[in-house]
């Protein structure tokens, strides 16, 4: 069973495949350009309460606000 969950809910070292981005076009285009397009494999590196989420995607590390991470849907691997 592969559940579709918000990226924000992943714990450190958990991975998921991006399936959808729930936001406006500015939000979406910022994320694709950083490698977070549907199909990309994301690994959470750090998820501290209140701080931005730190993830690894296509060989780079990015930090994204918690509000944004809640709108990135992933299929948990």
């Amino acid at each position: 069973m592969n559940m579709i969950v918000p990226l924000l809910s992943l714990a450190p070292n958990e991975r998921g495949v991006v399936v959808d981005l729930m936001g406006g076009s500015n939000f979406r285009s910022r994320l694709y350009a950083m490698g977070l397009a549907p199909g990309a494999v994301v690994k959470v590196l750090g998820n501290y309460p209140r701080g931005p989420l730190i993830v690894e995607v296509s060989g780079t590390r990015i930090a994204l606000g918690r509000g944004m991470a809640a709108r990135v849907l992933v299929r948990k691997l």
Binding site: Y32, G35, R50, T60
Partner: protein, 662 residues
């Protein structure tokens, strides 16, 4: 002969600036792109007897219409007619970097060279890239580089030269999408065929941009082909999206990555992925507890570097100009002219130049932190806290630097990515008490409160609170949407010193040029006020008359004309507030001055004076810096706002204090 133009494009943090500096050396110029506050860097290099103009485009991840940086880069690629485009690609993150490359290819540009940077670092991470195969897969030349050591630079210059002379044939590979998407692209291209736009833009690019609902592309259609055509196209796209059940831009982006992923298999292999030093460091640096401890330490070091070296250098320059003034004075017979030259011009120029070491050291420290990759970590740490006040996480840096001097702090707002953030951050910065105000605060607290540190602390806390609340207020009125927070945490990498020094030098030079006039004019005005019609101390100088004029207003906060005069002189430099009191009390200083002030003012008045001095206006150099970083209007707005806030706070404290019988 017209110089051939080379455009440098690439993601942020790929070493583009270092390559730019290695190519052009000192022959560069920093300015702004016309009409916007995006930094534009141009430089010249010579190869095989020919000169090339290199234009460093803003570092971007894509070429959408959503950010001004991306638009600037895109418009230059579309309309700037570069002879050669050098696309810098980070070998450690090829997949993401090629996303931008594909966007550039889709614009229909042919003369493209890929500069594959950080090859050594990629190897360390277990990534093997075959440049020959990569070149074959992409259809354009690939030059491997190690920007830090300058390796591969000559080959890059050779390739630029050859390409500019039409000696290299390229065939940039274009991303292929699913048949359905291709059909949409074709359909829209057909709609645009034979129109005005088809002559000026590659149709495939325009069609893809329209499918992504790109604002600028839509405006182009509206302007050239009218509303009906735009409606027709957008309706069609809407229908297509309804069939797919998701936005077209989402489909295009994910298929573009799929295509790139397929390409990379032809030239890239992965060994065992090892945990890098950066992975380990990041466990500490962005940690909500350890991260703050490290940050405090790093800021302490920056503070130390900038101010412990900067202030003595500033003093030396100040002294030098003082001596120059003394040396010049006897040679000018006319007394008024002598005053103007010595006290106005020489001391004005002196105070401008004396800021140079401070500003230079600041830029050196900040560029170092930026280039090494630490700044991104700071942004992550502080984002949650500062965003509540309408500021981005990185704004902590100017806020902290303001404690030393607001001039370099205002300059430091450059490190913020969004224009809106920069404007807000520089607006509130002058509230942060600089070291000059520390001297005033400690003198007054020493005089009226026996040096009670808690009183001084209260003033500092008040100033920070005013700054943050003002940020919250002002950010509502500055146009520009709040950008979603997403940033790259680049691999830690020691920067090239040459690049750092060049960069800091250019920035500091710009400061002197732009802020200089403001400081100079301010110095001359104050000199005039204090010497005409008679010198200050007699009660009849313009400065003193102005003080008396202000007195009825200052009375509201319990202050007299002496405070008025002192505050006027404080505009030049805040430490002048105390030295002016000294002049007004007939040259008393030290304990004698303290006693004199204590006998004519209550502690409450002393407190109000300290608070008002802290908040009332940016000093002339800070106004100059704000003007240099934004415009006249903004500098004026800050000034008016601060006077208003200081008045409100001053009147409030005095009225409440007296009502309470303090």
């Amino acid at each position: 002969m017209v110089m051939r133009v080379v455009a440098l494009a690439g993601n942020p943090n790929v070493g583009k600036t270092t390559i730019f500096n290695d190519l052009t050396g000192m022959r560069q110029h920093v300015g702004n792109w016309p009409g916007v506050t995006v930094e534009k860097k141009e430089g010249v290099f010579e190869h095989k007897g020919e000169r090339f103009l290199v234009v460093d485009l803003p570092g971007t991840y894509s070429l959408t219409a959503h950010s001004i940086d991306e638009l600037v880069a895109r418009n230059f690629l579309l309309n700037g007619n570069p002879d050669v485009v050098v696309n810098v690609v980070d070998a450690t993150a090829v997949l993401r970097n090629l996303y931008l490359t594909m966007e550039i290819f889709e614009m229909g540009l042919k003369n493209i060279i890929i500069a594959l940077n950080k090859v050594d670092l990629a190897e360390k991470k277990g990534i093997r890239i075959d440049p020959v195969k990569m070149s074959k897969a992409l259809g354009v030349p690939v030059v491997p580089l190690n920007a830090k050591e300058g390796a591969g630079l000559d080959e890059l210059k050779d390739k630029i030269w050859e390409m500019a002379h039409g000696k290299i044939k390229t065939n940039p590979v274009l991303p292929r999408y699913d048949p359905e998407v291709e059909r949409e692209i074709e359909h829209i291209s057909k709609c645009l065929e034979g129109t005005e736009l088809a002559k000026r833009y590659p149709l495939r690019w325009l069609a893809i941009k329209l499918l992504q609902r790109d604002d600028e592309a839509m405006k182009l259609v509206l302007r050239h082909l009218g509303e009906d055509k735009l409606k027709e196209i957008m309706t069609h796209i809407g229908e297509a999206e309804a069939r797919y059940g998701r936005a077209m831009d989402l489909i295009i982006a994910s298929q573009k990555y799929e295509f790139i992923d397929g390409l990379t298999h032809e030239f890239m292999g992965h060994g065992k992925v090892k945990e890098t030093l950066t992975d380990q460091l990041d466990k500490i640096l962005v940690h909500p507890v350890y991260g703050f401890i490290v940050m405090a330490f790093v800021f302490y070091l920056v503070f130390k570097l900038v101010f412990t070296f900067g202030f003595p250098l500033q003093g030396i320059l100040d002294d030098a100009f003082g001596r120059l003034g003394e040396w010049v004075a006897p040679h000018i017979a006319n007394e008024a002219l002598r005053g103007l030259v010595v006290d106005g011009i020489i001391s004005g120029v002196g105070s401008v130049l004396s800021f140079f070491p401070l500003v230079f050291l600041l830029f050196l420290a900040l560029s170092f932190l930026e280039d090494i990759g630490y700044m991104a970590r700071v942004a992550v740490l502080m984002e949650g806290i500062l965003r509540k006040f309408g500021l981005p996480g990185k704004a902590i840096i100017p806020l902290i630097l303001g404690l030393g001097c607001n001039v370099p702090a205002v300059m430091a707002t450059r490190t913020l990515d969004k224009e809106k953030d920069r404007l807000v951050a520089m607006f509130v910065n002058p509230f942060i008490p600089c070291s000059a105000r520390l001297s005033v605060i400690s003198f007054l607290v020493g005089t009226f409160f026996g040096g009670n540190a808690l009183v001084a602390l209260a003033i500092y806390l008040l100033a920070f609170a005013v700054a943050l609340l003002s940020a919250k207020l002002v950010s509502r009125f500055v146009p520009g949407e709040e950008s979603p927070f997403v940033i790259e945490l680049p691999e830690f990498l020691l920067p090239s010193w040459k690049s750092l020094i060049l960069h800091s030098w250019e920035r500091s030079k710009e400061f002197v040029q732009k802020a200089g006039t403001v400081i100079l004019v301010g110095s001359i005005i104050i000199w005039y006020l204090s010497n005409y019609p008679v010198p200050i101390g007699t009660g009849n100088s313009y400065a003193e008359k102005l003080g008396h004029l202000l007195e009825p207003y200052l009375r509201l906060m319990g202050l007299d004309w002496k405070a008025g005069v002192s505050l006027i002189f404080g505009i030049i430099a805040k430490e002048n507030v105390i030295s002016t009191y000294s002049i007004l009390y007939g040259g008393l200083s030290g304990d004698a001055l303290k006693e004199a002030m204590m006998s004519s003012m209550t502690p409450l008045q002393g407190f109000v004076l300290a608070v008002v001095t802290t908040l009332y206006i940016p000093c002339i150099a800070t106004i100059g810096a704000i003007r240099a970083e934004s415009n006249w209007k903004w500098a004026l707005a800050v000034t008016v706002y601060m006077i208003t806030v200081a008045s409100i706070v001053g009147i409030f404290i005095w009225q409440v204090g007296t009502a309470l019988g303090l």
